[in-house]
Amino acid sequence: MRSRTVEILVGLFLVVGLLAGIGLAVSVSGISGANGGSYKVYAHFENIGGLTKKAEVTLAGVQIGTVSNIRLDPQMLDAEVEMQIFADVDYLSVDSSVQILTSGLLGGKYIGLSVGAEEEVLVEGSVIEDSQSALVLEELIGKFLFDKVSE
């Protein structure tokens, strides 16, 4: 086996491998990364429905961050959701409200944010006060039946 040919083939092999890796990174996992980092913001919900980590946080339907952590708050006995907001989205007023929404009919849950009127903005560690929990199907049905019965 000519050693020159072998070297070229092995080099090609490694290059193809590298390209495959890049391909996987870009077109399969869509890695884009936040530009210049992100900051953490918190919100409490009575019921998070089916919200999971890595769910989107949107403003007017455009993604401005992701849900990075969900935990049970032992003092307030509700769910504390931690969100990473992209650093360049730094104009969210402190009286913004968040709502857990469903994408499509059967789609996953995500968080929609609406901006308020205050001048002060959310920064690292801020807590969003105004939150609306997810609509849970059973509660809706229960409410519907209750209303129906009382008619």
Binding site: L12, V16, G17, G21, V28, L106
Partner: protein, 259 residues
């Protein structure tokens, strides 16, 4: 009865001793730093072990990706979720099928070739000659092959995954009519580079170490007859396959268990 127990005891001890020998081979060959002058040997082994496996890996990846696309579509279309077929194909490949199937194919093709080659070198006293000339066969023969195995496996696994994804895309988009925009965007939203792709690569590296190690060890321990070499080759493929599947379970639990 006592004889039977003694027999089991002896077998057990000799298996443990074998494992000890195998570990010695692995650590010595790895950590006795590969000398710069042995680098061309690594390159040559990368060719034999990696490049030569490329065809079977790429073709298998393509077919598996296409089948996933087809099967995925037929299942998801009942839920109206056929847009998610890209996600299904990509996650199945990247997390499980690429590392595992690549490793199994690698064990069959490259692993058995390695065992046979080293077994033959032992049988024809080439390894003993190397020793007598003053060259350490672990450094010259074993170490380059080990490194070639560790480097090739993740590369082959990534190639398998990407070819599979494009195979799935081909079937879903061109043939079954899934919207290409939806296919790719749903996939990209659900595949995380660190949790999915990187974990898959870690699996591939682990499998690469295990398969190459088993293959080389079986070659070194083989009985120097044609029957002996054939038995060792079979053992390589069988043990490697079992270890791959068992390790896959363990790694999957560790990596994805707490979703």
């Amino acid at each position: 009865m006592l004889d039977f127990l003694a027999l089991i005891g002896r077998q057990f001890l000799s298996k443990i001793a074998g494992f000890g020998r195998a570990s010695f081979v692995l650590f010595y060959a790895l950590f006795a730093w590969p000398q710069p002058k042995n680098f061309p040997l690594v390159v040559s082994q990368l060719y034999h072990v990696g490049v030569k496996s490329l065809l079977i890996i790429a073709v298998s990846g393509l077919f598996i990706g296409m089948v996933l696309g087809l099967q995925g579509y037929t299942i998801l279309v009942d839920f109206g979720s056929e847009q998610s077929v890209g996600q299904m194909v990509a996650l199945s490949l990247v997390r499980e099928l690429a590392p595992v199937v690549t490793a199994l194919l690698f064990a069959g093709r490259a692993g058995s070739a390695l065992t046979a080659e080293i077994g033959l070198m032992k049988a024809t006293e080439q390894l003993a000659s190397l020793e007598m000339i003053g060259v350490d066969p672990l450094r010259r023969i074993v170490a380059p092959r080990l490194w070639a195995g560790f480097i090739s496996m993740p590369i082959l696994s990534m190639i398998f995954a990407i070819v599979g994804v494009y195979g799935g895309a081909l079937v879903s988009i061109e043939w079954l009519g899934v919207y290409s925009g939806a296919f790719w965007s749903v996939m990209q939203d659900s595949v995380d580079f660190y949790d999915d792709v990187l974990n898959g690569i870690i699996k591939a590296v682990v499998f690469g170490i295990v398969v190459t190690w088993i293959a080389i060890y079986q070659g070194l321990e083989s009985t120097p007859t044609s029957e002996g070499i054939s038995q060792s080759t079979t053992r390589t493929v069988v043990y490697s396959s079992l270890m791959i599947l068992a390790l896959d379970f363990v790694l999957t639990v560790l990596m994805f268990g707490d979703v």
